[in-house]
């Protein structure tokens, strides 16, 4: 068992798609919230193999895409300082701020470095005691255990020239905002498998019951995706509108990863968070607890007033709420491509626009 090729088996994928065709008797609108799932679906052409009754809409589960413009501008301001080494996950580098992006700051001489793991950023701080090292700590719940560990490590090793710029977001409040919107069309949900691997899925039954929207915890390989879709379609056809199914049971348990949850809770606290293109979703974010103020880049660096200025053309917010598709945007494929993106959904490896552009939709 290698856990990869087995879940890409074309014969099994076809078999499950046949079963979906046999099961479906009504049209259904399903949302997958995770950008990684969006990409996998589009890359493997699964959206084109599903029966026409099933419409997949893409949710705002791309942390790069939803990082508020103000926070991007703040990152750019910090990264421009000569005393700073600014570290970040790779896909943040070309996200457009109001004027520039991190990539351009680097081209102009800013010390901007891509890291694979937050611990690499701590190492850079250790190796450069005379410089300030800032890590751009973005992500959903999946990335929180890693991001908080960087702060814990810096504290325990006494690395005081390290700080984090936090912009974390949480899935359940986003689902609440989407399903609670008067224009909501989503009838079934594919939940993000790795978010649930960390947090468990005890937060979702209340959402399913409140909105009568069944949910299926879904993985990322083609077989996982069609299996997740099959499970939620079965629930919808059977009228079991408040059920949750775990279709990713090899990786997800109800309680989730308890040591990770404990660590997150010791470093982060809930806060309201603006989502780029969507607006403020209450209690949808995490920020550093006050006892970690000394590692908070927002406190350490005074970058003055930030006046964010969004592109007038970009409709990323509508796309991320499942109201429009990327090809509905007048700029899609013309002024806005992966080479010169106007919005974050075209930049990110998990953005819906980038997926559609790359895989020819």
């Amino acid at each position: 068992m290698k856990y990869v090729t087995e879940f890409r088996d074309a014969r099994l994928v076809k078999g499950v798609i046949e079963e979906i065709k046999h099961t479906v008797h009504h049209p259904w609108v399903l949302m997958e919230i995770c950008g990684g799932q969006t990409h996998s679906i589009v890359r493997h052409g699964l959206d084109q193999l599903l029966p026409a009754e099933i419409e997949l809409v893409h949710g705002p589960g791309c942390p790069v895409c939803v990082t508020p413009l103000e926070q991007i501008d703040r990152a750019l301001a910090i990264a421009s300082r000569p005393d700073v080494i600014f570290t970040s996950y790779g896909d943040m580098l070309r996200v457009p701020g109001s004027d520039l992006d991190l990539f351009t700051i680097r081209a102009r001489g800013g010390d901007v470095r891509v890291v694979y793991s937050p611990l690499d950023a701590v190492k850079i701080a250790q190796e450069n005691p005379g410089r300030q090292v800032v890590f751009f700590a973005i992500g959903f719940e999946t990335t929180a255990p890693a991001n908080v560990m960087s702060v814990i490590q810096a504290r325990s090793l006494g690395i005081m020239n390290f700080s984090v710029l936090v912009s974390h977001v949480r899935v359940p409040p986003a689902i609440h905002a989407i399903l609670g919107s008067p224009s909501n069309r989503v009838q079934g949900f594919l939940l993000a498998g790795h978010v649930c691997a960390v947090m468990g899925y005890h937060e979702y039954p209340a959402l399913a019951e409140r909105y009568n929207v069944p949910m299926s915890i879904t993985g990322f390989e083609p077989l996982d995706l069609v299996n997740g879709i099959l499970k939620v379609v079965r629930l919808l056809e059977a009228g079991k509108l408040t059920d949750i199914e775990n279709s990713y049971s090899r990786a997800v348990t109800f309680e989730g990863n308890l040591p990770a949850q404990k660590m997150i809770d010791s470093v982060f606290m809930e806060c309201d968070r603006p989502w780029r293109g969507i607006g403020i979703i209450p209690a949808s974010g995490w920020r550093l607890r006050p006892e970690f103020d000394q590692f908070n880049a927002e406190q350490r660096f005074d970058v003055g007033a930030i006046q964010p200025k969004e592109s007038a053309v970009c409709i990323a917010g509508q796309i991320m709420q499942g109201r429009k598709k990327p090809h509905d945007c007048p700029a899609f494929g013309k002024e806005c491509t992966t080479e010169h993106p106007l919005g974050a959904t075209m930049v990110s490896s998990e953005g819906a626009c980038a997926a559609y552009y790359k895989y020819g939709r």
Binding site: M1, K2, Y3, V4, E6, F7, R11, L12, K14, G15, V16, E18, E19, K21, H22, T23, C34, G35, G36, Q37, C62, P63, V64, Y89, D91, Y116, S117, P118, L119, D120, I138, F140, T142, T143, P145, A146, M149, Q153, S156, L157, A192, G193, H194, V195, A197, V198, F220, L223, N227, S249, R250, A251, T253, N257, P259, A260, M263, S348, S349, E350
Partner: protein, 89 residues
């Protein structure tokens, strides 16, 4: 961002006070990974790795059960053919 890759633990040790491991992703790719959140993990087990951290230990029994169920579905559909059928489950 949420993409995590399965890998096999081939070594476990401590570094800077943290439990770390060497993970084999297949095809000759081996990477150092933080195992702090999977204290129960053993060498030979598989985990999902995300930004250099193991998030959980994969359950082989669950994986096999999932595949068996999906195999059953595929076999049944191979027999029945592509025409629509009543749901019998």
């Amino acid at each position: 961002m949420c993409l995590g890759v399965p890998g096999k633990i081939i070594d476990i040790y401590e570094k800077n006070g943290l439990s770390m491991g060497k993970i084999d992703f297949g095809g000759g790719v081996v990477r150092e990974t933080c195992l702090a959140y999977v204290p129960e993990a053993q060498i030979g087990e598989y985990t999902i790795i995300h930004v250099g951290f193991a998030l959980n230990v994969l359950s082989e029994s669950e994986a096999l059960e999932t595949l068996a169920l999906l195999n059953e579905i595929s076999n049944l559909n191979d027999e029945l053919g592509p025409e629509p059928s009543f749901d019998q489950r």
